[in-house]
Amino acid sequence: MNERQSTHRTSDPPARYNADMARTATKGEKSLASLTFLVSLVALVAAAPVSGLTAAWLQTASSSSAWSEPAAPAIAPSYPETRDRVSGKSGPARDRLSSELSRDLRQGYEQSCGWEAVGSLDAPGGGAQAAIRERVMANIARSRSAREASNFAGHVRRVEATSTFQALVGRANARLARNPSLFADVLSEDELIASASHAGLARANWGNVVERLAADEIVSSPQLRGLFRHVGGAGNPDFIGLGRYGGLNFDATTVRQITTHMNRPGYGHNLIIGTYSRPGWFPLR
């Protein structure tokens, strides 16, 4: 039976043709399935939110300064999950942080991702690329990691600004303590008269001189000019930040006055303080 069938298969050309075609079709289906799987995998990797973090950093790096915070994604999330969450489905209230954390973990946000996948986002492409980019940007908006990275960049910026400003105030104060004749040189005659008339005003004017000496150093330095602007006056910080320090406020004061400055309405809550101390011999009696 087997021999006959085999003989029949090889000896009958139409039957052999049909059998070959059937094998080819099966093979083709397998290839198509493999290709579909690969395409799905590539799309999944490209659109995976884990790449959001690196995309955020790339966006940061491509912006004007390495210290600037990553810009908010330009495209608002538009996928169903977000719409459902925004629409406010009924149900017990969930802790937002734990909810987002579990979602992030569920979606693999914390997994590492190759830079190659992110790099491909910037390659020129058509509608598919744009759609992938949209998904990635939307995922960045939801990504806890990306938000934390953004906070981290802001934190680093603030730490650096604090350090720079404290150094500036320290140098100004040391300059004045080293050479008290600057007091007469930096203040106007009316300010000197006020200092001579009242010890409290003299102490306040020590601070004014420190502020003006710091401003003098800023004016003299093209680098510092791009970071600070001397403002001062009632209801204003002594300096405001420019460039990568934009949005930050700065006051120079003594340690004892920190609380007073931090409680000032308008700008005190987000103030960066540079402290100085007057020498023990000041003011002269």
């Binding site: 300059r175 050479n179 004749s181 600057l182 007469a184 040189d185 930096v186 106007s188 005659e189 009316d190 000197l192 008269i193 001579a196 008339s197 003006r212 000496l213 401003a215 003098d216 004016v219 003299s220 093209p222 000019r225 602007r229 001397h230 403002v231 001062g232 006056g233 420019l242």
Partner: protein, 232 residues
């Protein structure tokens, strides 16, 4: 032909004493925020500002360092924070008039108080410059809160004799000053600083916008009577 700016705000304008000449500008009702011109500790490195008019200007923490300022009219200037500090600038045919809040003219940049070489170079430049100037400043029509003029020869300042007077070095000493009991803190401070600077003379000014204006005018008259201030 003057280039006119009206109602504009200029912020963070810094000029590093390029040695250039800026001329032919008229600023009407303009605001200047954190602008510093001719920023230099080098007495020979200066930017010149010529044929400039400032009318109704206001400023926040602006100033000049080593500038050469010539043929300039300032008519009204509001200082919203610190006074307008001019540290080491020299002046020729500069008119201050109208309501001017507070202007302080110092002989050198701040670094001059720390470095004698800087102070000396500015002093030498100033002496050479003013030797060829017929008049430097006209303050006869200014109405101010505070105007300190340090190290500009008094004879080169056009004044209102009733409210402004010159005191020369040979007519005052520290001993004499300490013996004048009726002199208020304003002119006492001006004369003490003048004696410390070592200038040849100083212009005492009774600021018209100051609450103590009448007393200061009286004191000028008494200084004249005592032979300390020049009798115009």
């Amino acid at each position: 032909m003057m280039k006119v700016f009206e109602g504009r705000e200029f912020a963070d304008v810094y000029d590093d004493a390029s040695g250039g000449v800026f001329r032919g500008f008229r600023f009407i009702d303009c605001a200047f925020v954190s602008c510093w011109l001719s920023i230099s500790d080098d007495a020979d490195k200066r930017t010149t500002f010529r044929d400039v008019e400032l009318v109704g200007a206001s400023h926040i923490n602006c100033g000049l360092n080593s500038a050469v300022v010539e043929d300039v009219i300032v008519e009204g200037l509001t200082s919203k924070r610190d006074p307008l500090f001019c540290r080491g600038a020299v002046f020729k045919h500069v008119v201050l008039r109208g309501d001017v809040d507070r202007i302080v003219l110092k002989p050198h940049p701040i670094s001059g108080a720390e470095d004698q070489a800087v102070a000396k170079s500015f002093s030498e430049f100033r002496r050479a410059y003013y030797s060829d100037v017929d008049w430097a400043l006209d303050i006869s029509e200014v109405s101010c809160v505070e105007l300190n003029i340090h190290s500009i020869p008094g004879d080169l300042v056009r004044r209102d004799p009733r409210t402004q007077a010159i005191v020369r070095r040979d007519s005052i000493s520290a001993n004499l000053l300490s013996g004048i009991s009726w002199l208020g803190p304003e002119f006492t401070m001006s004369l003490e600083l003048f004696l410390n600077r070592g200038d040849e003379d100083v212009v005492l000014i009774a600021p018209k916008k100051k609450p103590q204006f009448s007393r200061l005018v009286d004191e000028i008259e008494r200084l004249r009577d005592a032979g300390i201030a020049d009798r115009d």
